[in-house]
Structure formats: structure tokens, C-alpha cells
């Protein structure tokens, strides 16, 4: 310990840019660890099943990554502020049934898209307002909107799937179309992820998210508008849930009130597996992308093996616990080395 201190003092005068990049690289190591997990999973999958590397299968996996990935980006924002959003799946359902009804009523497609995104954003804003203005803990607030949202979707649709056959073909592009050989949802995810990563890295809003998640009181004293920051992450999460709902109904050509059931749990799992700390302040979009890929490839492998969906749930749950345990062990090690 003392030697280390001395060493640090000697190093202090000749700091170099090289040292900075080296340390930043250390921070990125966890993300690269996830890359290896993904590579090994893909290698194993390719080795044991010929079907895995089949282009149709791979594109299927990518589409899965995209669908879960978009909401997981929103969840990453929320969890970075040390919050949680349980209402994602219900927001998807509300947007799915309302957008399907609007399409069935022959409203112009662009208007329906705007309306769907707006409904999602408003529901996210309700979460944000309850948490910041009302001081309700995020878990409780979003649990409430989760239950209410599901009820709302059921009420609006009277519990039945809503079809929009008249315009189904024109609206199909978003969920079923292809661009440069890749499904459109994959491109949507690429854009969302790139914007999110840029927002976190290059804007004051992104910095504020990390600051609020690291220490809300310090953030307030450092002049950050904590409430505005928290409000906005829930709004973003709601917006991305609305976007996901539109892709869902375009793909299935039906708006179901049960759409998105359990999606929030998938998103939490992906975010946590991607290395975002549930304690807030630590995490990256790159990790969430890898988390989404790992979850999708795992599901694909289990499918290819013919493992029943019931067993798949057991595996997925175990992986979430393992990922969080890994995070806790890492923290404990860090704090031991600090005081050792």
C-alpha cells in the first residue's frame, strides 16, 4: 500500500496522454470481456448446430437483438440514474392497441407513427413526473403504471387483438421490410443505439445522467437539474417503448393487448448482463448491445437444441442472477483492494 502510494507520487509529475488512454482502456475491458462471451457462445452454437450459421437464422437472431435492444437502450438510461422502469411492456401494449385502432380507422400512417411515439412518451413522462414531482420510488411508480397500462390496453381493446387488414401491407415495411439485406428493425436499432451512445458520451445531458446516478445530492450541489434529468430518462424509455410497439404491430399486423408481456424483465436482464450497474452511474450502450446479443444468441441456441420455453426461462433467470452476482463480487473486490 505504502509502496503504491510512493509510486503514485513519483508518477504524478510526468503524466502523459498515453497513461490516460491506458486507463480508459481498462474501463472498457469489461465490455471486451462480454465480446468474448458472445464469440464463444457463437462458436459453440456453430459447432453443435449447422442451422446456427444459416443466414436466415442469423438474420432472425439480429431481428431479435433489435427488438429487445431498443427498449434496453431506454432501460440503460433509466438504470444509469439508479432507477428502474417496470412499465415498458405495458406501454408497448397500450401503444400497440391504440396504434392498431388508429390504423384500422384509416388514419395516415405517418400520423399514426407520431401518435404512437407520443403516447409512449406521455406514459414515460407520467412515470417521470410521479418520481420527480411526487417523490415516489421508481420501482413503485413504474409498477403502478405497469399494472394500469396493462389494464388500459385491455380496456381499450376489450381484451381482443386489433387487426388493421386494410393498411397492413403499407405499414408492413417497418417491421418486415429489408434494407441493404438487413431487416429494417435492425437499422432502427443501429440508429437508436448510435444516438444513445452519442448522447451519453458527447452531451451535458449524458454526463448529468451519470452524475445523478452516481450521487444525486452531489449532482444537485454541482448545479445539475436532477429532476429534469430523471424526468427525461423515463420519457426516453417511454418513447423507445412506443417505437418498439410500432415495430411489433407492423411485424405481426395485429395490435394485441398482451403485447410486450415480460419485456421489461428482458430489458433489465439485457442491461444488467451488459454491465450496467443497478446502483447507477456505471454502464455503456456498447455493453447493452452485447447484452442483447448474448440473450438473443442464448435463446437461439436453446431453440436450436429444442429446449422447451419453460426450461429456457430457468436458464435466463439463472443468468440474470449470475450477472448481478458477478457485479457484486467485482465491487467487493474493488472495495477490498481500496482498503487493503
Amino acid at each position: 500500500m505504502i509502496d503504491e502510494k510512493l509510486e503514485r507520487r513519483q508518477l504524478a509529475p510526468n503524466l502523459t496522454a498515453f497513461g490516460i488512454t491506458q486507463l480508459r482502456r481498462l474501463g472498457a475491458m469489461r465490455a471486451s470481456g462480454l465480446i468474448w462471451v458472445l464469440v464463444i457462445m457463437c462458436a459453440v452454437a456453430a459447432f453443435v448446430s449447422d442451422a446456427f450459421l444459416n443466414p436466415f437464422n442469423l438474420i432472425n437472431v439480429l431481428r431479435q437483438v433489435a427488438l429487445f435492444g431498443i427498449v434496453s437502450v431506454g432501460m440503460t438510461f433509466v438504470i444509469l440514474t439508479a432507477g428502474i422502469d417496470l412499465s415498458i411492456g405495458s406501454i408497448v401494449a397500450v401503444v400497440a392497441v391504440t396504434a392498431a385502432m388508429l390504423l384500422d380507422a384509416s388514419l395516415p400512417i405517418p400520423l399514426v407513427i407520431v401518435a404512437g411515439l407520443a403516447i409512449g412518451s406521455v406514459m414515460g413522462a407520467v412515470n417521470g413526473a410521479g418520481i420527480t414531482l411526487g417523490g415516489i420510488p421508481p420501482f413503485i411508480m413504474t409498477l403502478g403504471t405497469m399494472v394500469m397500462g396493462r389494464g388500459l390496453a385491455m380496456t381499450i381493446s376489450d381484451g381482443h387483438p386489433i387487426h388493421f387488414r386494410a393498411v397492413a401491407d403499407q405499414f408492413a415495411w417497418l417491421g418486415q421490410g429489408h434494407l441493404l439485406g438487413l431487416p429494417v428493425p435492425v437499422w432502427v436499432f443501429v440508429i437508436v443505439a448510435a444516438l444513445a451512445a452519442g448522447l451519453l458520451r458527447f452531451t451535458a445531458f449524458g454526463r448529468n445522467i451519470y452524475a445523478v446516478g452516481s450521487n444525486p445530492e452531489a449532482a444537485r450541489l454541482a448545479g445539475i437539474d436532477v429532476k429534469r434529468t430523471i424526468f427525461l430518462v423515463y420519457l426516453i424509455s417511454g418513447f423507445l417503448s412506443g417505437l418498439t410497439a410500432l415495430i411489433f404491430i407492423s411485424r405481426l399486423t395485429v395490435g394485441e393487448p398482451v403485447a410486450g408481456t415480460g419485456l421489461e424483465l428482458e430489458a433489465i436482464a439485457i442491461t444488467v448482463i451488459g454491465g450496467t450497474s443497478l446502483f447507477g452511474g456505471e454502464g455503456r450502450i456498447s455493453g447493452t448491445i452485447l447484452g442483447a446479443a448474448i440473450v438473443a444468441v442464448l435463446a437461439n441456441i436453446l431453440n436450436l437444441f429444442g429446449v422447451s420455453p419453460f426450461t429456457q426461462q430457468i436458464v435466463k433467470g439463472a443468468i440474470i442472477v449470475a450477472a448481478v452476482l458477478f457485479e457484486i463480487i467485482r465491487r467487493r473486490k474493488n472495495s477490498v483492494s481500496k482498503h487493503g
Partner: protein, 520 residues
């Protein structure tokens, strides 16, 4: 060395009685700070030992070692003739050591009896709690102690003194042989303190030992038979209270000469940077007037709870408060910390870890966060500009870190404090409100922080308001000193007019005669 003399003194004083506690060569370090070094201490049965020292002298660490919350890195701790090795808090309780903190550790919604027997409530044969037996045993213990407490009273509704009595009763019901009282007078009124002293005298008469921690010398002379002085983690002296006087102890506690550690100041105060009149916030702040000029360091002292931190927070817009008038650098009053920083005022809070630092983030993040617009290029944050700005401040403030990309949690307390100063400088603040600038900082780093504060005031005309519990710090650094008591400004001094005695008297609201009478 003096610790050794002290040990011999202790042995002579208490002859044949086997000590209840012996500490030999005890040391404890934290990253960047040596909290305790080669501490020798012993307590005989029935003895009341006073333990005194300034803030940061190592009293809390010593208590935590006694309670089993921390373990000594070096040396040995012997309780009732038996050496203890890495004990748990429960081990120490079972060996008869009870620590009673300022803020009591009771469960506020439970009764006196439940708190006394918590974790070991008597059970009936069927495994349910035996309430009649609990009550009988509680009454028995309370009667033996002569405490007038209802076992059924909910502790949250009791006075602080009654809560301390509950804790003492609980400790003694566990056959405690050594009770450690951590600054009990800080939360007790005069009448309650008399009551506590009466209890201590009675219990020490039947062989229970006490370690009484306080920085109020009057109390130490009143209740303790022997006193040990800690400074910078070492035992620097002590002895029987009958053979020492007030001046001896102050000399031991303060130790170093003030000019050794505090930089020379040029006093060149400029225009008024911040002026507030009639600041009020409930009972915490009552009609406070304050002004500080550019290039000036204004020191604020007073007892804990006198409203010092509340004043800084109100000035920074962190808490709501009424004000009759308020001028900040020629502008109007900021209504929240964001506006305060934008107008050039920054608060560096008392508790760096919980209110100042972003611990999961790196040094550059922590420095730039309050002035992100200054690292923006073409609308986007630029890491290279940020690193360059952070590097410049790291060099200017001599922050010891490997790189701007090092996690701030890896830095020592002193360097974390420098990062927070760097943050306010990066945000171009001209008025700094610093709450306990050197809490949790070791002596070497303290000196650097003092020099830095003096340099900012003298060379850059920064206006600084500093709150501190360390009177030498207030005296060594301030141009003017303001003493607070019960939410009000109790006294105002110029640099040359004040001494530790004068400040302490003003903080306590005592007159000269009273203090001397107690010291004699």
C-alpha cells in the same frame, strides 16, 4: 514514548487491580491516512478515563476498534486478561465492552424493555416471547441502576438522556464492564449531563469502568480520574486529572505551533463579494447577517448544531431560507445551487463522499461536471479538451493522481477535497463556501489545502467562507471570524482578537469566570 510513561503511570495508580482493558502498540491505517499509531492505553476496574483530542486525532477510530467495527493493523488489545483477535461487534459486547454513541443505536419504535433485551428477549417454553418475564427483568435492572424509566415507554418518544439511560441499562444487563461514552455532552443539556455524571459515579463505585470521550475539558476534569490525550493518532500524554490543569491539556491537544502549518497571509480584501442580511430558516438560522470580500477568508466556528452548515447551504441555495437582503457579486440571490454556480458561488459540502464526489467516476469527470460548457467544442463535449483542462488543474492544485482517468474513489481524502476545489475553479467560481475543508485529511495534506486556500484568496481574489470545528484552523487561516450559537451569530472577531479560549467561550455562551472556575 510518552505513551510508555503514561502506561507506567497507569500501573502505579491502580496497583493490584487487573485492568479491564489493555491496548499495546495499537495502529490502524486507512488509504492515505494513518489514523492510529502505536497507541498504549489501559483502564482499571471502576476507573473513569477521559479520552480527549481534536477532531481527527483518532478518537473515533479507537472507539471503533473497541466496538469491533474496525480491527487494529498492529499491536494487541487485551480485554479482561484475554487477548482479542479480529473480534466481531458481538464478541466485544460479550466480553463486556459497550459503546454508547452520540446518536443512540436504539430501535425508535420499540419499547425500553424491547431495546434492552433486543436479540435475547426471554422466551416461554413454546418459543414465544415471555413478556411478563421481560418486564420483570427490565424493572429489576432499572431499579438496580436507580433509573426512573418505564419499560413500556417507546424509546422514540423519550428525551436524549432517557435514551442514553436505556442504552446504558441495556449494556449493563449484558454485564458490561467497560462503557465507552462518545461525546455524550454534545447532545445533552446541563441538567441531563449532571444526571449522567451521577450515574457514572455510582456505577464506577461498583466496579464498572468508563471511557469518557469529549473535547470539553470542564467535563473531563469533573468526572474523570485520569485523562489520555490523542493527537494525530498518537498518545501524546495524560495523567491524573488532579495533577494536570486546563493549560496542560490544551497544550497537549494543540501541540504544534500554529505558524508551522498555516501559510502567511497577505490581507488585501477587496469589494464585498457576498452579503446577506436577515437569513432565517426555522430554528436552524435566526436573523443571520454575513458578508465576505474578495480575497478574504471568513472563518465560521461554533458547536455542532449551531447552524454553521445550514448557513452555508442557505447561502448556496441548497436549502430554502428567508433573507432580508442578498447580494452575490453584484447580482441577485440564487434560488438553487445551479444558479449559484452560474453566478460564481460554489459550496463544497461537509461530507465529501456522500455530497461532493461522484465516486464511480474518474477525476476528470469530477472536475468538469459543474462547468461542462467549458469543455464543449462545436456543441459536443470534447474529451481531449476535458483532459487538458483537468490536467491543468491537477498540476496547479498538485492533486496526486496517476491520471485524469483515475477513479476519484482511489484518491486520498485530501486529494478528493482538492478535486472538489478544482471543480469550483473549473466552473469559474469566485466565492467558495467550504464546509470542514480538512475533515478526514491527514496532516501533510491539510497543510497543502491551507496553502491552496490562502493562495486562492491572496493571489486570485477568491472570497472564501470556511466552516470548521478545528479552532486552530479557524485561527490560522481566517481574516475574520464569526462564531455561531443556536442559529445566531454570537460573536465577530478580527484575526488578531481571537484565541481558542475566546472562541470556545463565545461558542458555548460562557463567561470568563465560568471557564476558569471549571479548569481549576
Amino acid at each position: 514514548m510518552s505513551g510508555r510513561e503514561h502506561r507506567e503511570g497507569g500501573d502505579q495508580a491502580h496497583g493490584a487491580a487487573a485492568p479491564i482493558l489493555v491496548m499495546r502498540g495499537v495502529g490502524k491505517s486507512f488509504p492515505g491516512v494513518v489514523a492510529l499509531e502505536n497507541v498504549d492505553l489501559d483502564v482499571a476496574p471502576g476507573e473513569v478515563l477521559g479520552l480527549i483530542g481534536e477532531n481527527g486525532a483518532g478518537k473515533s477510530t479507537l472507539i471503533k476498534i473497541l466496538s469491533g467495527a474496525h480491527h487494529a493493523d498492529q499491536g494487541e488489545v487485551v480485554v479482561a486478561g484475554e487477548k482479542v483477535d479480529r473480534p466481531t461487534p458481538l464478541d466485544m459486547i460479550e466480553r463486556g465492552i459497550a459503546v454508547i454513541y452520540q446518536e443512540t443505536m436504539l430501535a425508535p419504535h420499540l419499547s425500553v424493555a424491547e431495546n434492552m433485551w433486543l436479540g435475547r428477549l426471554p422466551k416461554t417454553r413454546t418459543g414465544l416471547i415471555d413478556w411478563p418475564e421481560t418486564r420483570r427483568r427490565s424493572l429489576d435492572v432499572l431499579a438496580r441502576l436507580g433509573f426512573n424509566l418505564d419499560p413500556k415507554a417507546i424509546t422514540g418518544t423519550l428525551s436524549v438522556a432517557q435514551r442514553q439511560m436505556t442504552e446504558i441499562a441495556g449494556a449493563l444487563s449484558r454485564k458490561a464492564r467497560l462503557v465507552v461514552l462518545d461525546e455524550p455532552s454534545a447532545v445533552l443539556g446541563a441538567a441531563e449531563l449532571d444526571k449522567l455524571f451521577e450515574i457514572i459515579r455510582r456505577l464506577s463505585g461498583v466496579g464498572v469502568s468508563f471511557i469518557y470521550i469529549s473535547h470539553r475539558l470542564r467535563e473531563v476534569f469533573e468526572i474523570c480520574s485520569r485523562v489520555t490525550v490523542l493527537r494525530d493518532g498518537r498518545v501524546v500524554g495524560g495523567g491524573k486529572t488532579t495533577e494536570l490543569d486546563h493549560q496542560d491539556l490544551v497544550g497537549l491537544m494543540v501541540g504544534r505551533k500554529i505558524e508551522d502549518i498555516y501559510p502567511a497571509r497577505q490581507r488585501r480584501p477587496g469589494a464585498v463579494a457576498l452579503e446577506a442580511k436577515g437569513l432565517s430558516r426555522g430554528a436552524a438560522l435566526r436573523d443571520v447577517g454575513i458578508a465576505v470580500r474578495t480575497g478574504e477568508i471568513l472563518g465560521i466556528c461554533g458547536l455542532a448544531g449551531a447552524g454553521r452548515s445550514e448557513l452555508l447551504r442557505a447561502l448556496a441555495g441548497a436549502d430554502r431560507a428567508e433573507a432580508a437582503s442578498f447580494t452575490l457579486l453584484g447580482g441577485k440571490r440564487p434560488s438553487n445551487p445551479r444558479q449559484a454556480i452560474a453566478r460564481g458561488l460554489c459550496l463544497l459540502p461537509e461530507d465529501r463522499k456522500s455530497e461532493g464526489c461522484f465516486l464511480p467516476q474518474d477525476v476528470a469527470f469530477n472536475i468538469s461536471i459543474a462547468g461542462l460548457s467549458r469543455i464543449r467544442r462545436k456543441g459536443l463535449l470534447d474529451r481531449r479538451v476535458e483532459d487538458a483542462a483537468a490536467m491543468a488543474l491537477i498540476e496547479r492544485l498538485r492533486i496526486r493522481t496517476r491520471s485524469p482517468a483515475e477513479k476519484i474513489s482511489q484518491l486520498s481524502g485530501g486529494n478528493q477535497q482538492k478535486c472538489l476545489i478544482a471543480r469550483s475553479l473549473h466552473a469559474k467560481c469566485r466565492v467558495l463556501l467550504i464546509d470542514e475543508p480538512t475533515r478526514g485529511v491527514d496532516v501533510g495534506a491539510k497543510r497543502e489545502i491551507y496553502q491552496l486556500m490562502a493562495k486562492l484568496a491572496d493571489e486570485e481574489g477568491v472570497a472564501i467562507i470556511m466552516v470548521s470545528s478545528e479552532l486552530p484552523e479557524i485561527l490560522g487561516l481566517s481574516d475574520r471570524i464569526l462564531v455561531m450559537r443556536e442559529g445566531r451569530v454570537a460573536a465577530n472577531f478580527d484575526r488578531g482578537q481571537a484565541s481558542e479560549e475566546i472562541l470556545m467561550r463565545a461558542a458555548l455562551g460562557l463567561d470568563q469566570r465560568h471557564v476558569e472556575g471549571a479548569a481549576a
